[in-house]
C-alpha cells in the first residue's frame, strides 16, 4: 500500500526557507522534532516534577526551561510545559498532548539577535531579565509565540500556520538592522 508522503513539515507550506545571514545574525528553520504539552492535574505539579526528574528533567518554573541531551522542556503558559525533542513519557498525574507538527521553530543566532528580536518582541531581553534558558510566552509582532533563549541566540516557536508571517517579520527586522549597520558604516 502507498505511504502518505510527509512533505508538509517542518516548514509546513512555507515557500522560502533558505537561511538568511545579515547583521551578523543567521535566521534558519528549526526542526523541533516531537513536541508535547504536559499539563499536571490541579495541585499535582510537584508529583509531575518528581516523575520528570527521574528522567533527568523536571517541570520548569514559570519563565524557565530545562535541558538534557537533545531534550528540552519549556514553561509554555499556565501550568503547561512543552517537551521538545523526544517522545513524551506516560505521566499518571498530567495530561500529555502530542503537538508535533502543530508548532514550528525558527532559530535566530548571532551577536545582534536580541537587537533584531527587539523590533518585534515587547519584553525585556536584557541578559539580566532574560538569561540563558528563559522561556517567554509573548508576541512576535502580532503573532503569539514561545521564545527560548538558548546557546547565544533565540529559538522562536509559533503555531505552524503562523510560520510564514513570523519568518517574514524576522527576515524584515534582520534586513533593517543590517541596513542600519551598513548606513552607520
Amino acid at each position: 500500500m502507498a505511504e502518505l508522503i510527509a512533505n508538509g513539515g517542518p516548514g509546513g507550506g512555507l515557500a522560502a526557507v533558505e537561511p538568511i545571514e545579515a547583521a551578523g545574525c543567521t535566521l534558519e528553520l528549526l526542526d523541533l522534532g516531537p513536541v508535547a504539552a504536559i499539563q499536571p492535574w490541579p495541585g499535582r505539579t510537584g508529583a509531575v516534577d518528581t516523575a520528570l526528574k527521574a528522567r533527568g528533567l523536571g517541570f520548569p518554573a514559570p519563565g524557565r526551561s530545562l535541558e538534557v541531551a537533545d531534550t528540552r522542556i519549556l514553561w509554555a503558559g499556565r501550568e503547561t510545559a512543552f517537551l521538545i525533542g523526544t517522545a513524551p513519557p506516560a505521566l499518571s498525574e498530567a495530561a500529555v498532548t502530542d503537538l508535533t507538527d502543530g508548532w514550528a521553530g525558527v532559530l535566530l543566532l548571532g551577536e545582534r539577535a536580541a537587537e533584531v528580536l527587539a523590533r518585534l518582541v515587547p519584553v525585556d531581553l536584557r541578559p539580566r531579565a532574560c538569561p540563558e534558558g528563559t522561556a517567554l510566552r509573548t508576541l512576535l509582532g502580532h503573532v503569539p509565540c514561545l521564545i527560548l533563549r538558548r546557546g547565544g541566540g533565540f529559538e522562536v516557536m509559533v503555531m505552524r500556520s503562523f510560520l510564514s508571517t513570523a519568518w517574514h517579520e524576522l527576515a524584515t527586522a534582520l534586513r533593517q538592522v543590517a541596513a542600519r549597520r551598513a548606513a552607520q558604516g
Partner: protein, 977 residues
C-alpha cells in the same frame, strides 16, 4: 554668509543640495537651515494664514516658520519638515510650501491685506450665510488658502521600523545636565538609555562659546559621549526625540534613522521606539522666548539663541548688520559674540532703564530703556524702529536677535495631567513637583528644564539627580564651567500699535488674544481654541507662555491664575508610518495558512480571508465562467458524488482528564458527560449573558481524551472562555486542554460516494461506522483521526492527519474524488450546502442571538447547570417578539436576494421601526435557486407567509416566502444513511 574659524561643520566635506530648484552649498554637519542661512537665503516660507514672508527663527525642533517639503526620488514628498532638523546630505531636495505660484510671489499674500477680516474666530462670524455654503464653498476655500505642506498622493512604501527598548534609567536630552546624569548613572553600572533629539550631543554647548574644564563645550561633550559609548551598560540614541510619557514607565520616542541620508534599500526612514524605564531624568533644557512687537515676524527677526547657535555651531550668520533686542543679558552676550566674529552690531536695545554696565562697553551702540516698535523689509529685514523715551527712529539691521528670556521645556513632565508651576522669581513655568497630582511617576527634571540657568549649575544638577536615583553611585568631581546666571524678567509685549505675532506658526497676534478675552473666551483652553494659538506643528513651544501672560493681562488675572493648557503627547509630530511600521498592506494582520495551502493554490483557487486564515473560494474549471458556475458544479459533487474540502482552519482543542465530561457539561448548553467513547456530539456554547457564543462538535476519542471543534472565527474566543471557566469556576476539576488546531490537517469528504472513497485508502476495513462516530486509525501509514460528521447534509466524514501529511493527503483525496465523479469544493459551495441544510455559521451566531432564536432551545439541558443557562431565561430573550431563524426563497424566479437586507410586511413603510427582521446568509442553490437564512419576528409561526425583502444599499426589493430553515432533506436521512 559663513564666518571663518567658526562652526562645528566639516569644511573638508562640502555637500550640494537644492532648495526650490536652486543649488545650495553646505558642509557635513550643516542642517538645511544653516546651509540656507550661510547661502544668504532669508525668505524660506509663507505663514499659515496670512501668507506673510517668513524666515528661520530658531535652530531646533521648535522652529515655527522653516517648514519645507522634502522631495524624494520616485515622487514621494515629506511635507512640514523643519529645515532646522533636516540634516544636509548630498542630493537633498527641498521645496518651500504653502505658497502659489512661488515663494517670492505668492498670490495668497492678499490674505495679509484682508487681515482685519481674518482675526481670531473669523470663520465663526463671517461665513454664516447661506448655511449650505459652509461645507461646499467656504471651508474648501479656507482650507486651500491656509495650510501646510502637500502630500504626494502616493502610498508611502518606504521602510519604517518599530522597536522596543528597556533600561533602568532613561535620560532625556544630552545637554550639560543630561550628559552628566548619564555619566553618573553609567559609571555606577546602571542600564542607561541617553536619548537626544539632535544629531550630536552637547545641547546649548554646541551653540555657545562656553568652556568646560578648559576645553570648548562641544569638545567636552564629545569626550563625555566617547566615554559613555565605551560603557556596555549605556546606550546612546541620537536623533531620537522622546515624544511622550505613558503609563507603566513607558516612553514613546521617534528616531530619525534614514532621513539624514539618501534612501538605501531596507534602511528605515524612522523608528518608533517604545522604551520601558522605571525612572527617567528630563534634561530637556529650555527654549528662548520671543517678544511681541509690531511686524516681529519678518525674515531676519530671529531668536538671539539661534543667532548665536548658527554662528557657533555652523559658522553662519543671516546678515551683515545685526541689531539685538531684549531685557536679558543674553542680548549683550549675543552682541559680544557677533562682534568677536567680525559681524557689525548696529544696536543693542535693552528695555531695562539700567542696562548692565558691561552692555555699554562693546563695539555697538546701546539703547537702554528702549524697545523695538516696528520693522521694515517685506522679504527680508532692512531696519528696525526703536522707541526711546518719546522719540522713535530707524536703525539699519538685516538681522534682529531677540532675547526674551528662557522657558524650561516642561511638557513631558505634564503628560499625565500635572500642570507646570509659575515661578515668579524666575519669571518662568517650572515642571510640576514629583508629588503633584498627575505628575509622571519616576520622572525627575534636571538642569535648565528644572529652572537652572548657568552651565555649572546644570552640570551639577544633572550629576546630583542621577546620584540620587542610582544606588551606591560613586561621586566624582564636577567639571569647571561658567556660573553666570543672568536674571530674567516677565517681558512679553512692547505695547506698540500694530500687529505683533505671538504664535508664528498659526499666525496668532496679540490682538487675537485680547479679542478672545474681550469676546468671553477668557479661559486659557477657550482662548486656545478660539485663536488656534498653540495648535500648529510646533505645539506652541514658542508661544504658549507668552500667550498665557497676555491673556492674564487682558483678563486682569495673574499668570498662575490663568494657568496653562493641557500638555499631551506627542511633543512633536510623529509620522503615522513610523507608528504603524510593517503594518501596510498584508502586514496589517498575520496570515495563517493551512498545510494544504500550496496544493490548493496550485489548483488556481481564488483565496478568501476567514479570520486570519486563507481558504479557497472555489476551484475554477477550464471553460467555466464566474464563481456561480463553479459553485454549482462543486455543490453537485457533494450532492451526487463526493467532494473534498479543507477544514483545517476550524479550531481544535484537545481536552484530557477524568473530569472532562463534567467540565464540558458546564461550558456546553447540552449534556456531554453521557457521550460514549467513539462518539461525537454537536454542542452549543452560551456566553455568560445567555446568548450563543459558538457551536461545533466534540468527539470523545477515549474514556478521558476528547477533541472539541470550534468555528474558524471563534477558536481564540472559545479557548479564552475555557481558560476563564477553568480558572474562575472549576479550578479543581482534573481536566486540561490545549489547542491542537495547527497539529492536524483536516479534510471533509462528503457525498454519496464518500464511504467508497474512504474504504479505498484505509489501512483496515471501516466496518460499522455510524453517523456521529469517531475513531483513531492509521491512514496509509500515518496516524489519523476519523469523524463521521457532516456540514453538508450528505453522508460525510472528516479525516485529520498530522500537518506534515496534509499536502499529500489533499492531493490524494481530490484525485480519488475526481475518479469517482467528484472533486474539490471551496467556501462558496460549502456555504450553499450548509444554507440548504439550515446549518449555522457566525453570520447567524453573531453575538445577539439566543438558542431560542435559533430554534435550539431544547438543546439547553434541564438536567444540569451551564454557563448562560439562567441568563437565557431572562424576559425578552424568548417569545414571539424575538426574531427567529427562518428560511427565505424569492417568490419571483430570478430576483436577487442579499445578506444584510431587511424584511418588511407588505404595506408597511420601509423605515427602521417597521423592519421585522434581516437576512444573514444567501446562496445560489442548484436545486432551489437563490435561498437565504434570516431572522424574523415570530418567524417560526410565519412559515408560508409572504414578506418583502428590501436592500436599500443595493436597490433590491424582492417579495419572498418565509419557510423552514432546512431546505434540503429535512429529516436528515442522507446524512445518517
Amino acid at each position: 554668509m559663513r564666518v571663518e574659524g567658526y562652526g562645528l561643520i566639516d569644511r573638508d566635506r562640502p555637500l550640494k543640495a537644492r532648495f526650490d530648484g536652486r543649488e545650495i552649498a553646505g558642509y557635513a554637519g550643516d542642517t538645511l537651515a544653516s546651509a540656507l542661512i550661510a547661502d544668504g537665503t532669508r525668505l524660506i516660507g509663507r505663514s499659515f494664514k496670512y501668507h506673510r514672508p517668513r524666515g528661520l527663527m530658531t535652530t531646533g525642533l521648535e522652529e515655527p516658520n522653516g517648514l519645507v517639503e522634502i522631495l524624494e526620488p520616485g515622487g514621494q514628498i515629506t511635507p512640514n519638515t523643519r529645515a532646522t532638523v533636516q540634516e544636509l546630505f548630498e542630493g537633498l531636495q527641498a521645496r518651500s510650501q504653502n505658497r502659489w505660484p512661488s515663494l517670492r510671489y505668492d498670490l495668497l499674500e492678499i490674505n495679509d491685506l484682508l487681515w482685519p477680516y481674518l482675526g481670531a474666530g473669523f470663520y465663526y462670524k463671517t461665513f454664516m450665510w447661506p448655511r449650505a455654503f459652509w461645507e461646499k464653498v467656504y471651508e474648501p476655500l479656507i482650507r486651500r488658502a491656509a495650510g501646510l505642506g502637500r502630500l504626494s498622493g502616493l502610498h508611502d512604501e518606504a521602510p519604517y521600523e518599530r522597536a522596543f527598548a528597556h533600561a533602568d534609567l532613561l535620560v532625556i536630552g544630552a545637554g550639560p545636565a543630561g550628559l552628566m546624569a548619564a555619566l553618573a548613572a553609567g559609571r555606577a553600572g546602571a542600564d542607561v538609555i541617553l536619548a537626544e533629539a539632535d544629531s550630536r550631543a552637547g545641547g546649548r554647548l554646541l551653540h555657545e562659546a562656553e568652556t568646560i574644564d578648559g576645553q570648548p563645550g562641544a569638545a567636552w561633550a564629545d569626550s563625555v559621549l566617547t566615554e559613555l559609548r565605551t560603557l556596555p551598560n549605556v546606550r546612546v540614541m541620537l536623533r531620537t526625540t522622546v515624544t511622550g510619557a505613558h503609563d507603566g514607565g513607558g516612553w514613546a520616542a521617534l528616531e530619525r534613522v534614514g532621513l539624514h541620508r539618501p534612501p538605501a534599500p531596507d534602511l528605515p526612514r524612522e523608528c518608533f521606539w517604545r522604551i520601558t524605564a522605571p525612572r527617567a531624568i528630563m534634561a530637556t533644557g529650555a527654549l528662548e522666548r520671543p517678544i511681541a512687537f509690531p511686524d516681529n515676524d519678518r525674515p531676519g527677526v530671529m531668536l538671539a539663541s539661534a543667532v548665536r547657535g548658527y554662528l557657533h555651531r555652523y559658522g553662519a550668520v543671516a546678515g551683515r548688520k545685526v541689531a539685538v533686542f531684549g531685557p536679558h543679558d543674553d542680548a549683550q552676550r549675543t552682541a559680544r559674540d557677533l562682534v568677536a566674529a567680525g559681524v557689525t552690531v548696529t544696536a543693542l536695545i535693552d528695555p531695562r532703564d539700567e542696562a548692565p554696565e558691561t552692555a555699554a562697553t562693546g563695539d555697538w551702540k546701546l539703547y537702554a530703556g528702549s524697545v523695538v516698535t516696528g520693522t521694515r523689509g517685506r522679504k527680508g529685514l532692512t531696519a528696525v524702529r526703536i522707541r526711546r523715551g518719546g522719540s522713535e527712529f530707524w536703525v539699519d539691521a538685516e538681522v534682529l536677535a531677540v532675547a526674551g528670556g528662557w522657558n524650561p521645556t516642561v511638557s513631558l513632565a505634564c503628560h499625565m495631567g500635572a500642570r507646570p508651576v509659575w515661578d515668579e522669581g524666575r519669571a518662568a513655568f517650572l515642571p510640576p513637583p514629583a508629588d503633584a497630582s498627575g505628575a509622571v511617576p519616576g520622572l525627575t527634571p534636571a538642569g535648565a528644564a528644572a529652572g537652572h540657568v548657568s552651565t555649572a549649575a546644570c552640570l551639577a544638577d544633572g550629576q546630583r539627580v542621577a546620584l540620587g536615583l542610582v544606588e551606591d553611585a560613586p561621586d566624582f568631581p564636577l567639571p569647571q564651567a561658567s556660573d553666570a546666571a543672568p536674571a530674567q524678567t516677565a517681558f512679553w509685549d512692547v505695547g506698540a500699535k500694530g500687529r505683533a505675532w505671538v504664535d508664528f506658526a498659526n499666525d496668532v497676534t496679540t490682538k487675537d488674544i485680547r479679542l478672545a478675552a474681550q469676546e468671553g473666551f477668557s479661559s486659557v483652553e477657550h482662548m486656545k481654541r478660539y485663536t488656534t494659538q498653540g495648535m500648529a506643528p510646533d505645539q506652541g513651544r514658542n508661544s504658549n507662555v507668552t500667550a498665557v501672560a497676555l491673556l492674564a493681562d487682558a483678563t486682569g488675572r495673574s499668570i498662575p491664575d490663568t494657568g496653562t493648557t493641557t500638555f499631551r503627547p506627542p511633543v512633536q509630530p510623529v509620522s503615522i508610518a513610523a507608528m504603524g511600521a510593517g503594518a501596510r498592506g498584508k502586514g496589517f494582520a498575520p496570515q495563517r495558512f493551512t498545510p494544504a495551502d500550496a496544493a490548493i493554490r496550485a489548483r488556481f483557487a481564488p483565496m478568501v480571508e476567514s479570520g486570519l486564515w486563507y481558504r479557497p473560494s472555489y476551484f475554477p474549471a477550464p471553460g467555466e465562467e464566474g464563481w456561480e458556475a463553479a459553485c454549482a458544479r462543486e455543490v453537485g459533487y457533494v450532492r451526487n458524488a463526493v467532494g473534498i474540502t479543507d477544514v483545517s482552519t476550524l479550531g481544535k482543542i484537545e481536552l484530557q482528564g477524568p473530569d472532562t465530561g463534567e467540565f464540558l457539561d458546564f461550558v456546553y448548553a447540552n449534556l456531554f458527560s453521557t457521550l460514549s467513547p467513539g462518539r461525537v456530539r454537536y454542542g452549543l456554547m452560551l456566553r455568560e449573558d445567555g446568548h450563543v457564543m459558538d457551536d461545533g462538535t466534540t468527539a470523545r476519542l477515549s474514556e478521558d481524551r476528547w477533541v472539541m471543534t470550534t468555528t474558524t472565527a471563534a477558536a481564540g474566543q472559545v479557548m479564552r472562555h475555557l481558560d476563564f471557566v477553568q480558572q474562575a469556576h472549576l479550578p479543581r476539576l482534573r481536566t486540561r486542554f490545549v489547542s491542537v488546531t495547527d497539529r492536524w490537517a483536516q479534510f471533509a469528504i462528503a457525498g454519496p460516494r464518500a464511504r467508497r472513497l474512504l474504504e479505498g485508502m484505509l489501512d483496515a476495513p471501516l466496518g460499522e461506522f455510524p453517523f456521529m462516530a469517531c475513531a483513531e486509525i492509521t491512514l496509509m501509514g500515518a496516524p489519523a483521526r476519523l469523524f463521521r460528521i457532516s456540514f453538508s447534509g450528505e453522508h460525510g466524514y472528516e479525516i485529520a492527519v498530522p500537518a506534515r501529511y496534509g499536502p499529500a493527503l489533499f492531493r490524494d483525496l481530490v484525485a480519488r474524488a475526481e475518479s469517482l465523479g467528484g472533486g474539490a469544493y471551496g467556501m462558496e459551495a460549502l456555504n450553499v450546502l450548509r444554507i440548504e441544510k439550515g446549518f449555522l455559521t457566525h453570520a447567524e451566531l453573531h453575538g445577539r442571538t439566543t438558542a431560542f432564536d435559533l430554534g435550539l432551545e431544547r438543546m439547553v439541558s434541564g438536567k444540569k447547570d451551564c454557563i448562560g443557562r439562567e441568563a437565557a431565561q431572562r424576559p425578552g430573550l424568548t417569545g414571539p417578539e424575538r426574531q427567529q431563524l427562518v428560511g427565505l426563497r424569492p417568490l419571483l424566479p430570478g430576483r436577487r436576494i442579499t445578506a444584510g437586507a431587511h424584511l418588511f410586511d407588505d404595506g408597511t413603510p420601509l423605515t427602521r421601526p417597521h423592519s421585522r427582521g434581516y437576512v444573514t446568509s444567501v446562496g445560489p442553490s442548484p436545486s432551489f435557486g437563490w435561498i437565504g437564512l434570516a431572522f424574523l419576528e415570530d418567524g417560526r409561526a410565519r412559515h408560508g407567509d409572504r414578506i418583502r425583502l428590501v436592500d436599500r444599499l443595493r436597490h433590491i426589493d424582492t417579495p419572498c416566502e418565509v419557510c423552514p430553515p432546512v431546505f434540503f432533506d429535512p429529516d436528515g436521512g442522507r446524512m445518517r444513511g
